[in-house]
Symmetry: C2
C-alpha cells in the first residue's frame, strides 16, 4: 500500500509539473502523454464546463487555454498538496494575462492516478480571476 501511494504521488507530481509547464509555455505534449487515452476532465465553467471525455477533447481545451493566455499563465504559489492512494490534490495560485487583461486565480486540481497515468482529473476555482 505504501508503494501504491508513493507511485500515485510521483505520477501526480510529474503531471502537475507538465501542467504548469504547459500553462506557462503552451507546450502541452508532456502533459498529454501522461494522460490515459480515456481520461475524463471536469471543468467548472464556460465552453468546456462539465465532464470532458478523452484525450482529443482535453487537447482541444488546453489549446483553448493557451490561446486565451497567449503570453502564458504562471504558477505563483503551490500552497498545499494532499493525497491518498489514488488521488492527489494541488492547491495553487496562478497569474497571467487573459486576452491582455491582468488575471489571478486560486485553483485546486485533483488528479486520479491509474498505474502510471492520470485517468481523470477535476478543476475547481477558488477565486474570480481578479484576486487571490
Amino acid at each position: 500500500m505504501a508503494q501504491t501511494s508513493e507511485n500515485t504521488l510521483k505520477v501526480a507530481h510529474q503531471a502537475f509539473e507538465y501542467l504548469i509547464h504547459g500553462l506557462a509555455t503552451g507546450e502541452w505534449q508532456a502533459f498529454l502523454d501522461i494522460l490515459s487515452d480515456d481520461v475524463t476532465f471536469w471543468f467548472p465553467m464556460g465552453k468546456y464546463h462539465g465532464q470532458n471525455v478523452g484525450k482529443p477533447r482535453v487537447k482541444e481545451f488546453l489549446q483553448y487555454v493557451s490561446e486565451s493566455f497567449n503570453s502564458g499563465l504562471n504558477l505563483t504559489s503551490l500552497d498545499h498538496v494532499t493525497s491518498n492512494e489514488t488521488t492527489v490534490v494541488f492547491e495553487f495560485r496562478d497569474e497571467g494575462l487573459l486576452q491582455g487583461e491582468p488575471y489571478k486565480n486560486r485553483i485546486a486540481i485533483s488528479f486520479d492516478v491509474c498505474d502510471d497515468k492520470i485517468c481523470s482529473y477535476r478543476e475547481y476555482f477558488g477565486s474570480d480571476g481578479k484576486s487571490y
Copy 2:
C-alpha cells in the same frame, strides 16, 4: 507522525460532518465550536469573496448561507477525501434550493487542522450552481 496524520483526519472528518449538518439544518454551533477563534476562511466569490478572518466573521457567513438556502443544502455525494499531516480536502456535491431556485454544485473544501481545531479553510467551486 502517523498519529498526527490520524488526528488531522479525525478532526477534519468531524468538522466535515458538522459542516454538512449545518448546511442541511442551519444549526451551526457544532461547526463553530470546532473552529479556532482566529480561523481564516477563503471563499471564491460574492459578498464574502476572499479571506474572512475570525469566528464572528465566519458565523456571519454561515448565517448568510443558511438564509440563502433556507430549506437546507444537502450533500448528495462525497467523492474524494485526500490528506496530509495538516490538511484534508473533501470533494463533494450538494443540492438544494437557492432562494427557491434549484441549485447543484461541486465543491472542494480544504481544512487545515491545528491540534483539535480547524484553524483555516478554503472553499473552491467545481461548477456553476446549476449542474454537477
